[in-house]
Amino acid sequence: MVIIETKNLSYTYPGGTKPSLNDVSIKIKAGEFALITGSSGSRKTTICRCFNGLIPHFYKGELEGEIRVADKDTTKHPTFEMAKEVGLVFQNPENQLFALSIEKDVAFGLENLGVPREKMRQRVDWALKLAGIYDLRERSPHEISGGQQQRVAIAAVLAMQPKIIVLDEPTSFLDPLSAKKIFEVIHDLNRKLGITVVLVEHRLDLTAKYADHIIIMDKGRVCQDGNPRTILGAESTRLIGVGIPKATLLFQMLAKDGLKLGSVVPLSSDEIAQSLLEAIKPHD
């Protein structure tokens, strides 16, 4: 089942002279872990804003083409209605926490929706536990690290029980270890709860291995769309200037020098190490 679909979507910000999105047609299936990547200025953030109707409701501007998310036309449903279907997590953890305690922040969306207190408490605790920050629930946002703040932001959208979670470069302010933890939390949500994940990221080293589907954007257009192994393994992708995982690069470089390591393109260090070990086995 397709849960996010755009057809010939084009968008120009108010006062903009050039369209920011240009004829974007993509399909994301329910339960997928989709990775959107591309260089700076490829308009990855802009497409995220379309998914819950921030574009066009909050940003105005000119939107053409079709977009359906969770069976709703986002241009016809206000953002607060889309919020029940799509949770958005932004880049800067600091600017998406408003309350003075963690749990109050996680409750914010539910409060807005008018969820009764008992039910709200249950859902808040559930989301806090899934994000692994239950013990921090009474702390204030400036008493915790950036990585923990970002997990609060994830719990906050999770509490609203959306079908889709969209994360816009959620780890670019974090150190690699905190980033890894965030990706693990997201991966778990996808695998255990079946939540559709759309992750915008240019650190493919850490994320490619989780993805079922990769979309590469360039200057507001989609330039690659499909299976991560096929796309990241292709020579043409490297030329777009996307940060291909080192493991995949090594695989390509070895192949160029005549050492073929099977047909499956590796996306992580584990995978390439495995193929290397297998390559030497029969000759032992």
């Binding site: 700076s40 670019s172 302010f173 080293d205 996307v242 690069l249 090594l250 050492l259 260090s269």
Partner: protein, 274 residues
């Protein structure tokens, strides 16, 4: 040259951010200071241009003790580019932004003009000379911030988290830029947790944990040592991760470069496969 002599620093709030830090940055060196957020990296480099003065110990820049001089006079020698360009851009045009520091340092009108033009062309910003810095993209703003510091030609350059939010191409440009600075014998200190970037550059690495320096040495020796890295919560670079899973191939331990890794693997495997 920067000499850090048994420096300890405690913030007024009582947080002890540096403890017993001692090392020397030699002229022309390229150093990466690594460690988790909150390990004291930024606190440490703020001592290099006197923004912070040690609570205990001394910091000497070219033999001058930072406690005994002003930030303004140290800044002339030590250029400091902050992580977020938006924390410093305020002028109406890019040109004025770059001239700001030069005016503060009292350069002649003629020199200012020359230096601004040089910095603009060096960082490929010429076409934005009269543009407002606020109209530029994130990557361009970062370049303006860098140009505004390079303009006065400091001997030592400190870059705080230069790769944050930068894509693959921008990082590659940054690496080229640092190499170029190296050929001009500039001293470069970067503060970063981007382990892949450091692996590509292979500078001297100072690893920090809880305000202390826990390792100091060539990048390939430190980044390929998983035990040391684990102590300071740094994830090893991919190449090291791959090699650490290939124990039976008896590969050398200190490899962080992708090309070196490829050559070694080819040599090993060719022998084995034949």
């Amino acid at each position: 040259m920067i000499e850090v002599q048994d420096v300890g620093f405690t913030y007024p709030s009582g947080v002890e951010a540096l403890r017993g830090v001692a090392f020397t940055v030699n002229n022309g060196e390229f150093i990466a200071i690594m460690g988790q957020n909150g390990a004291g990296k930024t606190t440490l480099v703020k001592h290099f241009n006197g923004l912070l003065k040690p609570s205990i110990g001394r910091v000497l820049v070219d033999g001058i003790e930072t406690k005994k001089t002003s930030v303004a006079s140290l800044a002339k020698k030590v250029g400091f580019v902050f992580q977020n360009p938006d924390h410093q851009l305020f002028s109406e045009t890019v040109e004025e932004e770059i001239a700001f520091a030069l005016k503060n340092f009292g350069f002649e009108e003629e020199t200012i003009k020359k230096r601004v033009t040089w910095a603009l062309s060096f960082l490929e910003l010429k076409k934005y000379r009269k543009t407002s810095p606020f109209m530029l993209s994130g990557g361009e703003r970062k370049r303006v911030a860098l140009a505004s510091v390079l303009a006065w030609n400091p001997e030592i350059l400190i870059l705080d988290e230069p790769t944050i939010g930068q894509d693959y191409k921008q990082k590659e440009k940054l690496r080229q830029f640092i190499l170029q600075m190296q050929t001009q014998e500039k001293t470069i200190v970067i503060v970063t947790h981007d382990v892949e970037f450091v692996a590509e550059c292979n500078p001297r690495v100072l690893l920090m944990t809880e305000g202390r320096i826990v390792a100091d040495g060539q990048g390939k020796n430190i980044l390929a040592n998983p035990e040391v890295l684990a102590k300071s919560s740094v994830v090893p670079p991919q190449v090291v991760q791959i090699f650490s899973r290939l124990n039976e191939l008896e590969l050398p331990k200190n490899v962080i470069d992708l090309y070196e890794a490829k050559d070694l693997l080819l040599k090993k495997l060719e022998k084995r496969l034949r």
